[in-house]
């Protein structure tokens, strides 16, 4: 059972936004990628987060995303781990704890984004 709170998730999303936006190379890579991403925390059904990628920059809001290109669903602690860079999305994706709904290219691209920030 997770002890993560909505505030922990929001802090992780803030951290992720900073890392995405300060990475000039990543911004250039994503300059054509305008996507709406819904973040769904399985164990916190009232929590809503909407990530917006626009011309390489990321922003997010605490509100539902009506017509997302990608829906990212996982337990809160998994989401926090990914947005904080403490874990890659690959293993939770492969073991089924993280589900990504969207086009294959968008899903792959989201994986690239996190690996470009955290991968070493």
């Amino acid at each position: 059972m997770t002890h993560a709170t909505p505030e922990d998730l929001y802090a992780a999303l803030d951290h992720f936004r900073t890392k995405v936006n300060e990475n000039q190379r990543l911004r250039q890579m994503n300059r054509d990628w305008n996507r709406d991403i819904a973040v769904v925390a399985k164990d916190l059904p009232d929590v809503q987060a909407w990530i917006r990628m626009r011309a390489g920059e990321m922003d997010w809001e605490r509100q539902p995303c009506d017509d997302p290109h990608i829906v990212l669903t996982a337990p809160t602690d998994v989401l926090i781990g990914i947005f904080q860079g403490e874990r890659t999305p690959t293993e939770p994706y492969l073991d089924g704890s993280l589900t990504l709904r969207g086009s294959q290219e968008d899903v792959l691209r989201l994986d690239f984004v996190s690996l470009m920030i955290w991968g070493e």
Binding site: M29, D32, L94, M116
Partner: protein, 307 residues
């Protein structure tokens, strides 16, 4: 007669069997595509394990390389390990030598390649030897690994940056289902969105690398350009001719109207030698490539004088 089976994640529409004579030995080369079905590929390998002399793994890599680092592709390794008795190879044992040699051959024996030739390599981590060979010559080059595998409009222009991005991405990406990284099965038959990424084709004199990546975004017109690749069929060649390409150079020889993947050529060498891949090693493969005298095959698509 030696028997070599190529098991490919590619389209079954490209299946074929040919018999060839190499160094006085008859060899049957058979290719079976599984339309992107990894389980079926594994089953095919198990069914033929111990019954053929060597197995080539096509439409998938077992290893990616960048600057001395080797990244193991999880799905590729799964297929390789499905063969217990018969050696299974993915082409990486000969690719480095064969493709470096092909670039050198084109530089020294043709007018096609010069140090000023602008190169688009659609993917370099599966052909790092070719990538290094172009860079050593001094060719201006774009590595399209992010463009063609992930649809990211980011041309990589140096081997250092390629190695840096590979170090960040490949350890994890190599664990993903291979079908997410590379067109397999019916995806190989689809025409790409032909206006997308057209500028990278237009800015190059030669388009090099994996044929299915090349074809993914192939523009309607490629006038004046030539292609360095392999695994092309006669239909692919006709398509390039119709779109205005001048030449197609394949790093592997044509047999019965198509060029085989390096995996099949490596498997053929393993079958001919009677040795396991680890016994052959880099030097062993290089010696067999010398004996087989494999040279790039250059096809002039628009007639006129051969270059």
């Amino acid at each position: 007669m030696k028997r070599v089976l190529g098991v490919s994640l590619g389209s079954s529409q490209r299946d074929h069997t040919v018999r060839v004579s190499m160094l006085g030995e008859e060899i049957e080369l058979s290719r079976k595509g599984t339309d992107g079905d990894l389980d079926r590929a594994e089953q095919l390998i198990r069914e033929h394990d111990g019954k053929v002399d060597a197995i080539g793994l096509g439409g998938i890599d077992v290893y990616f390389f960048a600057r001395g680092e080797r990244y193991v592709v999880r799905d590729g390794l799964r297929l390789m390990e499905a063969a217990r008795a018969t050696p299974a190879v993915d082409g990486s044992g000969i690719k480095d030598t064969l493709e470096r040699d092909a670039v050198q051959y084109l530089l020294h024996h043709t007018e096609l390649l010069k140090p000023t030739t602008r190169v688009l390599m659609v993917s370099a981590v599966d052909r790092f030897g070719m990538a290094e060979a172009f860079v050593e010559i001094g060719c201006p080059i774009v590595f399209g690994d992010l463009i063609f595998s992930a649809g990211m409009p980011y041309p990589i222009t140096t081997l250092d940056e390629l190695a840096d991005i590979a170090r960040r991405i490949l350890p994890e990406m190599a664990k993903m289902p291979f079908t997410m990284l590379y067109p397999t099965g019916k995806e190989q038959e689809k025409e790409g969105a032909t206006e997308r990424f057209q500028e990278y084709y237009e800015a190059a004199d030669v388009i090099a690398g994996d044929w299915h990546f090349i074809r993914k975004y192939l523009p309607p017109r490629v006038d004046g350009k030539w292609f360095l690749t392999n695994t092309t069929t006669s239909k692919d060649i006709a398509e390039l001719r119709q779109r205005g390409a001048t030449h197609v150079v394949t790093t592997t020889p044509e047999m019965a109207g198509r060029s085989f993947g390096t995996n099949v050529i490596e498997a053929m060498i393993v079958a001919l030698s009677g040795q396991r891949p680890e016994e052959l090693g880099h030097e062993g493969y290089a010696e067999w490539l010398r004996r087989l005298q494999l040279e790039p095959r250059i096809e002039n698509l628009q007639g006129g004088s051969a270059s």
